[in-house]
């Protein structure tokens, strides 16, 4: 079937969204940093936000690599 790669790419993106959510909820969210008494909560949220942003950047990077791999023939063309 023509264009099957696009369906595969959508499927991979879907799996990555679910896995990314799983990492966010199971690993990142439970992290608790209490080293600073007064600003502990802000520091805690800031670190989690930074990790989440890093995860999004990593997600885009992975998607970009997968895109090049799946569509290499079309992109070169």
């Amino acid at each position: 079937m023509n264009g099957i790669q696009i369906f595969v790419f959508i499927g991979i993106m879907w799996v990555l969204i679910i896995v990314g959510g799983g990492i966010l909820i199971s690993i990142i969210a439970p992290i608790s940093i209490h080293s600073f008494d007064r600003y502990g909560d802000i520091f805690d949220s800031g670190i989690k936000a930074l990790i989440a942003i890093f995860l999004v950047i990593a997600w885009i990077f992975i998607i970009s690599k997968i895109k090049n791999w799946i569509f290499q023939k079309q992109i070169k063309h």
């Binding site: 023509n2 264009g3 679910i18 936000a49 895109k67 992109i75």
Partner: protein, 331 residues
């Protein structure tokens, strides 16, 4: 209660569909009389097509959502009405005057203010299988980013006859079904007008188009979709249903590496064969887009490309519904 909801759902759906279905031919005539037409470059001979169709779409959305608000007032419906109307104005400004690439994202970010001011959101982000995560500060940023992203994503897929309205019909009905699956009935009913205005507009927008939605139509449809996703707490499901359009924006941005309007492109991603079929261009500077990837296997008619995009929309819509079903499953 369920009977009342069913009646309300039927009434708002009928109003949304009929208003757009009846008003669009009148709008076409008015636009043509005022010479508000643009050339359809993909048509043999380059037919002149009326633009923008945004006003009739807005009329359908406002009439149905205001009736819904009269039946059951809620901050969610009010947020949908306000953000959608503001997004229409942003799109209309871009229809009237050629504005910079950054204007729309920034202005659309401002249209999210009613959602925040009305508190029509829940800062728990829900993921399938794993549950929810509380992100109070980050969620405000997500709201501000979400509306420009969905607005521009739908606008960027508005490149062929009928694609934006047809795609929006499929994605929004998938979102409505998902909202029913997760038992969020009130927002599900509020989302019905989006599907029905898109469907009614598709009648005139499909190949060969009699009217184009313009930025006021396409951006508004995307912004309303984003607002429903926030108000209905279905952000992830909404993103899944929108994946083909997201891929289009992602491919475009990763090839041009900056935010620009399509009209600013140096090379067109698509060209025509002698028999006026669409064909992927071989120009190096042309961006990679979803249409260009679809055409990589060979030339196709505009109608065939549109149908290929609808198949992708149906696939991602099915994935969105599966995601909604998975929301009840916890690992």
């Amino acid at each position: 209660m369920m009977f009342d909801r069913t009646i309300t759902a039927i009434i708002v759906s009928i109003i949304a569909f009929i208003v757009v279905y009846a008003l669009t031919p009148i709008l076409i005539k008015k636009l043509e009389r005022r010479n508000l037409v643009v050339k359809d470059y993909n048509r043999v001979g380059g037919a002149m097509v009326a633009r923008p169709g945004g006003p009739s779409i807005l009329a359908g959305i406002l009439s149905s959502e205001l009736v819904l608000y009269a039946f059951s007032p809620s901050t969610g419906v009010l947020a949908i009405i306000l953000t959608t109307s503001l997004a229409f104005l942003v799109g209309l400004a871009d229809d009237r005057k050629v504005l910079g690439g950054w204007f729309k994202p920034v202005a659309l970010a401002a249209t999210a203010i009613p959602i925040i001011m009305l508190g029509a959101y829940d800062y728990h982000l829900a993921f399938p299988l794993f549950g929810t995560v509380k992100i109070p500060a980050l969620y405000l940023a997500l709201i501000i980013f979400m509306i420009p992203i969905t607005g521009n994503t739908i606008n960027s897929i508005d490149v062929l006859n009928g694609v934006a309205s047809g795609f929006m019909t499929i994605a929004s009905f998938a979102l409505t079904i998902s909202l029913f699956i997760i038992h969020n009935y009130d927002v599900a009913i509020a989302s019905l007008p989006l599907g029905f205005v898109s469907l009614a507009f598709y009648k005139y927008h499909k190949f060969p188009s009699r009217i184009f939605p313009g930025d006021s139509g396409a951006v508004m449809l995307g912004a309303m979709y984003g607002t429903i996703a926030i108000v209905g707490h279905v952000e992830v499901i909404a993103a899944v249903a929108l994946l083909p359009a997201v891929i289009n924006s992602f491919l475009f941005l990763s090839s041009v590496k900056r935010i620009i309007e399509h009209r600013q492109l140096k090379a067109n991603p698509v060209t025509h064969t002698e028999d006026f079929k669409l064909m992927a261009t071989t120009e190096k500077d042309a961006p990679v887009t979803l249409v260009r990837l679809i055409l990589a296997h060979g030339p196709m008619t505009e109608k065939e490309v549109g149908h290929a995009i609808f198949k992708l929309a149906l696939f991602s819509g099915a994935l969105a519904i599966i995601t909604a079903i998975m929301m009840d499953i916890k690992l």
